[in-house]
């Protein structure tokens, strides 16, 4: 347990550093357009893009539910992660790189822009904007909640949950509002490296204290005492055959591609094709590095303190520090608890700021600009964008101070609810016969199916958004054939732009 003074010092110092980096990034850019503010297009190097992608993707799950998940799901849960992680370059190569090429011609800002460009349907844009907003906004509040709990836990209540949330909210708002994507990306880069390093410091220290640094001894211990950790469906029955397919598929499509904050990074932000290539190559490697660290904590947890309940396993890192490491060396425990606190802040803030920015873009661009046709000058647009982010930030802080159950419900299926939008995107890029009515029906029916999967059929935690995605695919095909073909001029305009970009960027 850390003293409240130390937690305050860490918290304030960390916030000041993050704000300084955010302001530095803002001061060293020339925001030329609203596209530049929201997507950072053309102003973010490959290294920063990779780190902002990773840091945005990984939420407080890495320090809380993740290690608990491996504790209860076992090695096979990690194997199921390894099955979807390498799919990222494949999906990016065939889908997101095409969107990136189109974006060079069309200057998209929100994820719904690409769909609207192909299908020219305000109804589709409205549905997509609502779905993307539902999948992003609750995340901001939930991450604030997790970080508030981390502060409370690390200080033994010395730093109150409320103060922690307020400071985090203010810190984040300052640099997101000022610098948009560029500030977010730079702070993400700092925070991304920080949480990865701290995660591994915790892993190696726990391994050293618990098993003299020998992973083999830890594995042998679990093999001897909790053999089910190594086999399907895992010690708590988490990974049956169906979940082995449904969960990774949801992560491959919903989590790493279709959630709006990562969609923008994978498809709009990269400054050139070389950046896209580096993103494809690096992201799976970094993901494995993080999940392996999280998995080893789960393994060490079950080896050192078996038999914990599910609520306790979610707090396995502070539990190990307080109950195992504290006995061996209070100083090390002190350092690791500080690492846990800062790591949780870093991984949480880097996700929350990305969601906040993309949620702001959806409201200002999809709703106000495109659907309500609010005509504003560039300066007015920037002011509106910043105003909306402030309102959303304050709203998220208020929700986080007293989170309603609805927040957790929305988080629960955020990854799943965006999955039915993926086949529509693929159809938009590859299939000229796909029509706007089909896209609207497929999207709406797919999303409704995901809701039924969770709230009516009760199989959400096995199949996530997979059934909704199948329904969306089938309906896109059937309704497209039943409705008149899309106007040739629209198709020529859209596919012509894609062809033009391809011929500009590729030699063959």
């Amino acid at each position: 347990m850390l003293s409240s003074n130390l937690v305050w010092v860490l918290f304030i110092s960390y916030s000041l550093i993050v704000v300084s980096v955010g302001i530095y990034a803002w001061r060293n850019q020339n925001i030329k357009s609203i596209e530049n503010y929201y997507t950072g297009k053309g102003s973010i190097s490959w290294f920063v893009l990779i780190m902002t992608y990773i840091a945005s993707l990984m939420s407080t799950w890495v320090f809380f539910a993740g290690p608990g998940g491996y504790y209860r799901g076992g090695l096979v849960f990690w194997l199921s992660e390894l099955s979807y992680i390498p799919l990222f370059p494949v999906i990016t190569y065939f889908v997101m790189n095409k969107v990136w090429l189109l974006n060079c011609e069309r200057h998209y800002v929100t994820p719904a822009d690409i769909y609207d460009d192909r299908f020219r349907s305000p109804v589709l844009r409205a549905i997509l904007a609502i779905v993307f907003l539902i999948s992003s906004l609750p995340y901001v509040a939930s991450v604030l909640v997790a970080c508030g709990k981390a502060a409370d836990m690390a200080s033994g209540g010395g730093v109150s949950y409320t103060s922690a949330i307020l400071i985090m909210g203010i810190t984040m708002l300052i640099y997101v509002v000022l610098g948009g994507m560029r500030s977010v990306a730079w702070t993400d880069t700092l925070q991304g490296w920080l949480f990865i390093i701290l995660l591994w410091v915790i892993v190696l220290s726990t391994l050293s204290v618990g098993f003299g640094g020998s992973l083999g001894r830890a594995v042998a211990n679990v093999w001897q005492n909790t053999n089910s950790w190594f086999s399907y469906p895992g010690p708590d029955g988490w990974v049956p055959y169906a979940a082995r397919l449904g969960y990774p598929l949801s992560c491959a499509i919903g989590w790493t591609i279709m959630l709006p904050h990562v969609f923008v990074r994978a498809a709009y932000t990269g400054q050139d094709l070389q950046t896209q290539q580096r993103l494809m190559i690096s992201v799976p490697i970094l993901q494995v590095f993080v999940w392996t660290g999280t998995m080893v904590i789960g393994l060490l947890g079950i080896a050192l303190v078996p038999g914990l309940g599910s609520g306790e396993t979610e707090l396995i890192i502070p539990y190990l520090i307080q109950n195992i490491i504290q006995d061996h060396g209070p100083t090390l425990a002190y350092i690791l608890m500080s690492g846990f606190f800062i790591g949780a802040l870093a991984v949480g803030m880097s996700t929350a700021n990305s969601f906040l920015l993309v949620a702001g873009s959806i409201i200002s661009e999809d709703f106000l600009d495109k659907l309500f046709k609010l005509k504003l000058s560039y300066n007015q647009k920037m002011n509106v964008a910043r105003g909306i982010i402030i309102i959303l930030g304050i709203g998220s802080v208020i929700i986080a101070l007293n989170p309603p159950n609805l927040v957790w419900t929305l988080i629960m299926f955020a990854i799943a609810i965006v999955m039915p939008l993926f086949p529509v995107l693929v159809g938009a890029l590859y299939w000229k016969r796909a029509t706007a009515p089909a896209a609207v029906i497929a999207t709406a029916a797919g999303v409704i199916t995901v809701l039924l999967t969770y709230f009516s059929w009760g199989i959400g935690n096995t199949w996530y958004g997979a059934i909704g995605m199948i329904v969306s695919t089938v309906l896109l095909i059937i309704v497209s054939y039943l409705t008149p073909e899309t106007n040739k001029e629209i198709l020529d305009d859209f596919y012509g732009a894609l062809k033009k970009a391809e011929s500009k960027f590729y030699l063959n």
Binding site: K41, G42, L75, V76, L79, L82, S83, P86, L87, P89, V90, Y93, F94, N103, C104, E105, W223, N227, S228, F230, S231, Y232, P233, P240, Y241, R244, L245, Q271, D272, L273, Q274, Q277, M280, I281, P284, A501, K504, F505, Y506, L507, N508
Partner: protein
Amino acid sequence: MEINNKDYKKTEKWWLGLVVFFYLLYNLPGFPPYGDPIAAIWHGIFTLVPLWFVIYYGLFKLLRSRKFRELNSDTLHQEMNSPE
């Protein structure tokens, strides 16, 4: 000089096909049997290692065969806005 070879399209099809094959192989229902840790480890090795190998091998092959111009989006925008 413009290169007109479209050989990469064939590689793309093989790549995608093999990725789908190994992904389905990993997800074959009934394998490995529940409660068998040795089988779970061998199953992981025989399905996930090839999946990763195929994805990275295919990716690097495609990246080598599909040449691109050293243009970034800003340059492209400048080109588009410049008078013909």
